[in-house]
């Protein structure tokens, strides 16, 4: 794993403090916007575990985000709150199970097949949800009341309040970030980076690589599920777009934009792309034209990947 230069560490610390202080001054709109950014940051980190750290380019990652979101919707009784820990646990469990099943199939393939097959499984789920009236069909469904955490009658926070939700999302993002740092330095983390570098050699060294990739896929799926649960609880609705391949495609863009395989890259990439989207949306109804142009140009003009924008700063 890359060591982070001192300057970047300082920058991250300042960023964290700024994030923690923001609700004291920020308006509600921006509070919710940044909450969404942080949720996307978690989502992007989960994909980076596959793309940047294991070398598995998945184009169906939205599947796990989506199923966890729908799980929360199904667990929430109409006009009542779901339990915080139960709904979170079940959502993560559903995402993990989905990743286990999908991973079992898709990890039999590599390279371009892997890209196409993950996309196909993602779309399969998308069409299923899209065509299922009990799941709300193409319109999706509302979650009228957000999950509630109660310990013997006392709630430490209220997700209905934007600032409280903001801190929950921040805490989860920091937790996932730290967890991944520990994970990547562990023997397991070294194995997946070896797989990315040279999977054949790993097998010859005696590693049963399929098993490690499957565990990694399940982990990434579970973390995507965390992001999906948060997104559903935050937006108060679920719809098939959460599972669509546009979601997966933009997520991939975030990971690459921020610099894949770097610890804080996915978070920065998620933030950058979301801000860009917001700016483009402010300009025109046809903002996707600008986004598409941005994506095409950045691939063409930065042949070694977008991370190279940051490389010169990192090298010292």
């Amino acid at each position: 794993m890359e060591r982070q230069p001192r300057a970047l560490q300082v920058l991250l610390a300042i960023g964290l403090v700024a994030l923690a202080a923001f609700p004291l001054v920020g308006e509600k709109f921006y509070l919710q916007f940044i909450t969404k950014l942080m949720i996307m940051g978690i989502f992007a980190m989960s994909l980076d575990l596959l793309v940047g750290h294991t070398g598995l380019v998945s184009l169906g990652h939205a599947l796990f985000f989506g199923v966890a979101a729908y799980a929360l919707m199904l667990l929430t009784p109409e006009y009542q709150a779901a339990g915080f820990w139960t709904s979170l646990g079940v959502s993560l469990g559903v995402a993990a199970l989905a990743a286990l099943i999908v991973g079992f199939f898709v990890l039999r393939t590599t390279g371009i097949y892997f890209i196409m097959v993950t996309l196909a499984f993602g779309q399969m789920t998308y069409f299923y949800v899209h065509d299922s009236s009990h799941l709300g069909g193409s319109d999706g469904k509302y979650i009228y009341v957000r999950p509630v955490l109660e310990i013997a009658g006392w709630s430490p926070f209220d997700l209905e309040r934007p600032a409280h939700f903001y801190y929950v999302a921040l805490a989860m993002m920091v937790f996932v970030y730290l967890m991944l740092r520990v994970l990547l330095a562990s023997p397991f983390g070294r194995v997946i980076s070896g797989i990315k570098e040279n999977e054949h050699r790993m097998r010859m060294l005696g590693f049963a690589t399929f098993r490690y990739k499957l565990v990694c896929f399940v982990l990434a799926g579970t973390l995507a599920g965390l992001a999906g649960w948060l997104a559903a609880a935050h937006d108060g609705l679920v719809n098939p777009e959460m599972l669509s391949w546009h979601q997966s495609g933009q997520l991939l863009m975030m990971v690459i934009l921020g610099g894949m395989g770097t610890p804080s890259g996915p978070i920065l990439g998620a933030a950058a792309l979301k801000v860009l989207e917001l700016v483009f949306q402010g300009w025109t109804k046809h903002w996707q034209l600008l986004l598409g142009g941005f994506i095409v140009l950045s691939v063409l003009l930065l042949p070694r990947g977008l991370a190279q924008l940051f490389e010169s700063k990192r090298r010292d």
Binding site: S186, P187, R190, N198, M204, G206
Partner: protein
């Protein structure tokens, strides 16, 4: 005599209509270097690929340390104590020399499904890696990225990684390929050091090295064993001389 660590019987591999390895039987004991020689296309690398599990044999049997391993996948065969080096250098180019060997040594943990403690803090693994580096005479280069090594050093690293997995059986596919005189000499010395503790199967074109190292020689032609025996008996063998002195059919 020590035990037979590697044994094949009637080993055969077909690719479509072509038989690359045909009815090969050979043995190798711990403390012995068994060299397989033969012209290009004789099936030597295919043989190594069968032994390491990279390819599954069409028929026949492979035994490692008394166990039937025929058709097992490479990672299982590796775990049973077989290490292999490749003809074309096969290392983790972007990792440091130490990390290459550390990862190799880590494969001997009962499991790498360990998620919390930092990999760098597994002392036994670090020691095994350091030992392999020492043995392969790469001391002082631990923190260099593998991609910055010279060709000869990369070959040494390849051997070091294999050693870090603490194998009983070593399969070496042309370890001297593309090396200059000095590099070759260093590698030959290294391999000589390794003979006592290992059963070694060597595929090599450099005949000086082969005769300097091997206690047992097998000559393969067109996938089959032409002759097998001590270096002296092979040197005196008329058939072998003919095969090498170029009956034009074998080119």
């Amino acid at each position: 005599m020590t035990e037979v660590a590697l044994r094949t019987a009637a080993l055969r591999k077909d690719f479509g209509g072509l038989t690359a390895v045909n009815d090969v039987a050979l043995e190798c004991r711990v403390g012995q270097m068994h060299a397989v020689i033969g012209p290009n296309g004789a099936g030597k690398t295919t043989l190594i690929n069968l032994l390491s599990g990279d390819l599954a044999p069409s028929s026949g049997r492979i035994e490692i340390l008394g166990r039937d391993v025929t058709g097992l996948p490479p990672h299982r065969i590796s775990q049973l104590g077989v290490g292999r080096s490749y003809q074309r250098t096969n290392i983790f180019m972007r990792f440091t020399v130490f990390e290459n060997c550390r990862l190799a040594a880590q494969s001997r943990l009962p499991s790498s499904m360990r998620f919390l403690r930092a990999a760098a803090r597994y002392r036994a693994v670090n020691e095994a890696a350091a030992q392999a580096i020492e043995l392969a005479e790469l001391g002082g280069r631990e923190q260099l990225p593998a991609s910055s090594l010279s060709h000869g050093e990369r070959r040494q690293l390849e051997v070091a990684m294999t050693l870090a997995t603490q194998p009983k059986v070593l399969l070496l596919d042309e370890p001297l390929a593309g090396m200059g005189g000095e590099e070759s000499a260093r590698m030959v010395e290294l391999l000589k050091k390794l003979v006592p503790g290992h059963a070694m199967l060597l595929v090599e074109h450099d005949m000086d090295a082969v005769f300097a190292l091997a206690g047992l020689l097998t000559v393969m032609v067109n996938g089959a064993v032409l002759a097998s025996g001590t270096p002296e008996s092979i040197r005196a063998n008329r058939e072998v001389q003919e095969a090498y002195l170029g009956s034009p059919g074998h080119e």
